[in-house]
């Protein structure tokens, strides 16, 4: 018999990690194409509210997932239009995407604050009270398994396929990619929208499963942690996943410390994940000595005439 508290901690870790990881995997794809999108927080928020509203009104969870994902992808296309097509500053555009996303989602969700979901996203194998480690893994919902599938798929495609190599060429040296006949701007545009779709999936996970209700600013900085995770993972899917598990573990552990007999102030406890994030980021940057593995063309708009 495994300790029930440990199983609870493991379950909470997996859930918190899934939420962070899906958004960072999307951002990883976007950044691999050379586009930096700082609007993850806003995109998660849009997906979260769109999915929640659909779920409340239709009681159809799968429709809610699709609407949430598509809304965020369309929302991300604003960033794509401004930075890829119109070649404007990616930092500014991404930041405003966050502010706009939070404002629009608050506006849309105004009448849904405090509403309850009739049906939330249930676990795939309908295990209610897992009694061992395997059952904890099997008690997760479909988005958890999607996250695992995406990790394997994205890593495989980037490493082992011609498509993946050509895709990464865009982010590494867009001019060389262009002369190879790759459609740079189209690739970047689509990659930005895919990043949005992943953030949307993360948002849907947030409101349909993780905390099944809607309040303003409920993303609580997770989009920014997702961005930090991409750096943490050195732009590699598996390492990003490990980072997500680590941060998920922290998010799950901190509120449980008191049950393990640590006397802690709850307000101070709440800020520790952010302090640890900074600490890890600093240690990681020192450890890598500046060689972070970032795509070389990140942040630089592609313009044909520049060659």
């Amino acid at each position: 018999m495994v300790d029930i508290q440990f199983l609870g901690l493991l379950n909470a870790t997996l859930q918190a990690a899934t939420l962070l990881f899906i958004a960072s995997l999307g951002e990883l794809i976007t950044e691999k194409s050379g586009i930096l999108n700082l609007g993850v927080e806003g995109m998660i928020s849009i997906g979260a509210v769109a999915g929640f509203i659909t779920a409340v009104n239709t009681n159809n969870i799968f429709l809610a997932i699709i609407v949430g994902v598509l809304s965020s992808a369309i929302f991300a296309s604003i960033h794509a239009i401004v930075t890829v097509t119109l070649k404007q500053d990616q930092t500014v555009s991404g930041l405003i995407l966050t502010i706009l996303g939070l404002a629009v989602s608050s506006l849309l969700g105004k009448n849904y604050v405090g509403k309850k979901l009739e049906t939330k996203l249930e676990s795939l194998f309908s295990i209610e009270n897992p009694s061992n480690v395997l059952e904890v893994f099997l008690s997760q919902n479909i988005i958890f398994y999607l996250a695992i599938t995406f990790t394997i798929a994205v890593s495989y495609i980037l490493k082992n396929t011609m498509f993946g190599t050509r895709f990464q060429a865009v982010g590494e040296d867009s001019k060389a990619a262009d002369s190879m006949g790759i459609n740079v701007t189209k690739t970047q545009f689509i990659a930005t929208c895919i990043g949005g779709a992943f953030a949307g999936l993360s948002g849907v996970y947030l409101t349909l499963s993780y905390v099944p209700y809607w309040t303003d600013n409920m993303t609580a900085g997770r989009g920014w942690i997702a961005l930090a995770l991409v750096i943490f993972g050195g732009w590699k899917p598996y390492r990003t996943a490990i980072g997500a598990l680590l941060f998920g573990f922290l998010e799950a552990l901190v509120p449980r410390l008191q049950t393990y007999g640590f006397e802690l102030n709850p307000y101070i406890v709440k800020i520790t994940p952010y302090i640890i994030t900074i600490l890890v980021l600093v240690l990681l940057t020192i450890y890598k000595g500046g060689k972070t593995g970032a795509p070389k063309n990140i942040g630089i708009a592609f313009f044909r005439e520049n060659r």
Binding site: L38, I78, I81, V82, T85, L86, K87, Q88, D89, T91, V92, S93, L95, I96, I99, L100, L102, A103, V104, S106, L107, K110, N183, V184, T185, K186, F189, A220, G221, W224, L227, A228, I231, N265, Y267, I268, K270, I271, Y274, I275, T277, I278, L281, V282, T285, I286, G290, F302, F303, R304, E305
Partner: protein, 366 residues
């Protein structure tokens, strides 16, 4: 060269008989025109949202106008509201001179207010004018302290300052929540977690009517930031340091040192925004010290191309928009409409800016 070779996707699909080229000469006032057109676009977007919500855009906007700049009193409120926005925006612009981003203005504002209260409850001065001065200085130092860790880790190890400054926001706001629920909690504030009010002797007085002396500080800091960025040796060195690494080395400029001090000064500007807000408006530390000023300040700074005078003007307008946005709640319009207008203005301006910087030219057949 073929036309279709020069245009990239999706331009080639939209306009295949044109070429796209960078303009050699960009209109000096392009930022200003982009802002105006962007604002127009944002008003149209705002109107559409209002119409969807069954509200009349004309009535709503005229009410917003009347209640934000329609009288001396409401204009004063708007300028008071603009003060922290402008100060934080100036800080962001100073830091951007070395091509770094400060996303942590929100936290620095809170830290400025915390510093004021910390000094206020531990020290007493008989002369209230010098006490106010000391409190304002401490708020500047509080903001600078808040950005210290991002600044040190940036210049020593190259840690991404966008993420570290952003994360400090959550830490400082968490600290504020801790203070106002714990050590600083005022028992008289009942259920609302807040620190005790500061004494009337350290209130920033009003120039006239409702307009606080904070706005005068804001004007002085705008002038100072303008001088620092455009006319001072330090500003020149900051620009070189933010430009190319090689140029800085040839010019004998210590780029890291400039970046470090630029960040501390910029953080201090946001800190003093919190100090002014506490001493002139809220008079106590609570989570209501800033309502997202630090984030809106990023829009204000970016939209003006990081120009101090522009930040002053656009900040004033956005202050009025916020006042307008908060009063239209009374007629059942969401206060977020103001946020959406502000963000859309910048997106609109970015789109317009493209057409100032680039040129689509028709190419003849054959």
């Amino acid at each position: 060269m073929q036309t279709s070779m020069i245009l990239d996707w999706p331009w080639q699909v939209l306009v295949n008989k044109y070429t796209l080229s960078k303009r050699q000469v960009v209109n000096e006032l392009s930022t200003f025109y982009s802002f105006l057109l962007g604002f127009l676009i944002a008003l149209i977007i705002g109107s559409v949202i209002l119409i969807i919500q069954d509200k009349s855009p004309g009535d709503t906007f005229s009410l917003m106008f009347k209640l934000s700049i329609g009288s001396v009193n409401s204009l004063s409120s708007s300028l008071n509201k603009a003060t922290p926005l402008i100060l934080a925006g100036l800080g962001i612009a100073i830091i951007n001179t070395v091509k770094l981003w400060n996303i942590g203005a929100e936290g620095q504002i809170f830290m400025g207010a915390i510093a004021v209260n910390l000094i206020y409850i531990n020290f007493q001065f008989s002369n209230s004018t010098s006490f106010i001065f000391i409190l304002l200085v401490s708020s500047f130092l509080g903001g600078a302290f808040c950005i210290l860790i991002p600044a040190v880790t940036k210049v020593l190890f190259g840690v991404n300052e966008i993420i570290t400054t952003l994360l400090t926001n959550y830490i400082v706001i968490g600290l504020t929540i801790y203070l106002v629920n714990g050590p600083w909690k005022d028992p008289d504030s009942l259920n609302f977690p807040a620190a005790a009010y500061v004494g009337k002797e350290v209130y920033l007085p009003n120039i006239f009517g409702k307009l606080s002396y904070g706005f005068l500080i804001c004007i002085l800091f705008t002038a100072f930031a303008h001088y620092l960025k455009n006319n001072s040796v330090f500003g020149y060195e900051m620009r070189i340091a933010g430009g190319s690494e090689m140029t800085a080395i040839y010019a004998g400029i210590n780029a890291k040192q400039k970046a470090f001090f630029a960040m501390l000064i910029g953080g201090g500007f946001a800190g003093i925004a919190g100090g002014v807000e506490l001493l002139s408006q809220t008079h106590r530390v609570s989570t209501g010290i800033s309502q997202g000023f630090g984030y809106t300040a990023i829009i204000v700074a970016a939209i003006t191309g990081m120009r101090p005078i522009g930040i002053f003007l656009v900040g004033s307008l956005f202050g009025a928009l916020s006042i307008g946005g908060s009063v239209i709640q009374t007629i059942g319009v969401s206060t977020y409409i103001a946020d959406i207008i502000q963000a859309s203005t910048l997106f609109g301006a970015l789109i317009i800016q493209f057409f100032f910087n680039y040129q689509l030219k028709r190419v003849d057949d054959g």
